[in-house]
Amino acid sequence: MHNLTAFSGLFGGALIGLATAMLMLLTGRIAGISGIFGGLLPLRSSERGWRLAFIAGLIAAPLLAALGGMSLPNPTMPASLAVIAIGGLLVGFGSRMGSGCTSGHGVCGTARLSTRSIAATAIFMLVAIVVVAIVRHGIGG
């Protein structure tokens, strides 16, 4: 448990909750990122304005932090671009097929006590745990 950052996790999580609550209270929309982003793509394009504004806000967060002296995000990712591309394809295809991701199902759906969202969250958590076990420890692989 040496990597645990409980306080910043709880505080950051509360901010995510605040953003989600605010979007519903003000605009009546669910803050599901895959749904918001997916609705900007050509085949299912709808209500592009607020969607673009929300995504712009997401990207502006680290840029504003950079103005305040923080460094821009530079995530540690797999060395192979092929693995990254496969991961991205799976995340995109799966979140669209399952109508949601960590935010729409994991946060909003769980907060609404939706059995559908809680089932989706349990499934993607479990599969992700198995994939990490295989990749990192070779368990079952």
Binding site: I16, M24, T27, A53, F54, L90, S99, H105, R136
Partner: protein, 155 residues
């Protein structure tokens, strides 16, 4: 315009929350998913904080009945657990476990403009488009364009 500003601010606060919580770092996410390694419980605290505040906000929204800036609260309506939900969640989980990124953190990380993150976001968009295209083909073979627009029920 107020709708745009509200959405931008919501995205900004959401992004700040992801940055502060450490969830924009794939190694923090993978550390949580790695239950056989040096387990990092942070993601559970992030979820707890997010779900608690969201529940309060949603309860408030329900009591008000209507949102401040638009006519209607658009709650997801479906409650069935169907095959696309199960398959989709499983495929999403596989990609999430492979790289440690889901859509929100991926978009926040786009600000750093590194090649790996650009590849991830482009592939994610391609995956979404691929699913939309595949659904159109299945619903109405031959007439893919503009056919059968499925509402995004959950988010």
């Amino acid at each position: 315009m107020p709708m745009m500003l509200a959405s931008f601010l919501s995205g900004l606060i959401f992004g700040a929350g992801l940055l502060i919580s450490g969830m924009t770092q794939p190694e923090k996410v993978l550390g949580f998913l790695d239950i056989f390694g040096a387990w990092d419980a942070t993601l559970a605290f992030v979820m707890a904080g997010a779900v608690a505040v969201t529940s309060l906000g949603f309860a408030l929204a329900k009591r008000r009945g209507t949102p401040v800036l638009t006519a209607k609260l658009q709650w997801p309506t479906r409650s069935d657990i169907d095959a696309p939900l199960v398959m989709g969640a499983a495929l999403f989980g596989a990609g999430w476990g492979l790289v440690g990124l889901c859509p929100g953190p991926a978009l926040v990380n786009l600000a750093g403009f590194g090649l790996p993150i650009i590849v991830f976001v482009v592939a994610m968009a391609a995956g979404m488009l691929g699913n939309d295209l595949w659904r159109d083909r299945r619903v109405s073979p031959g007439v893919a364009e503009g056919a059968a627009i499925t509402p995004r029920a959950d988010g």
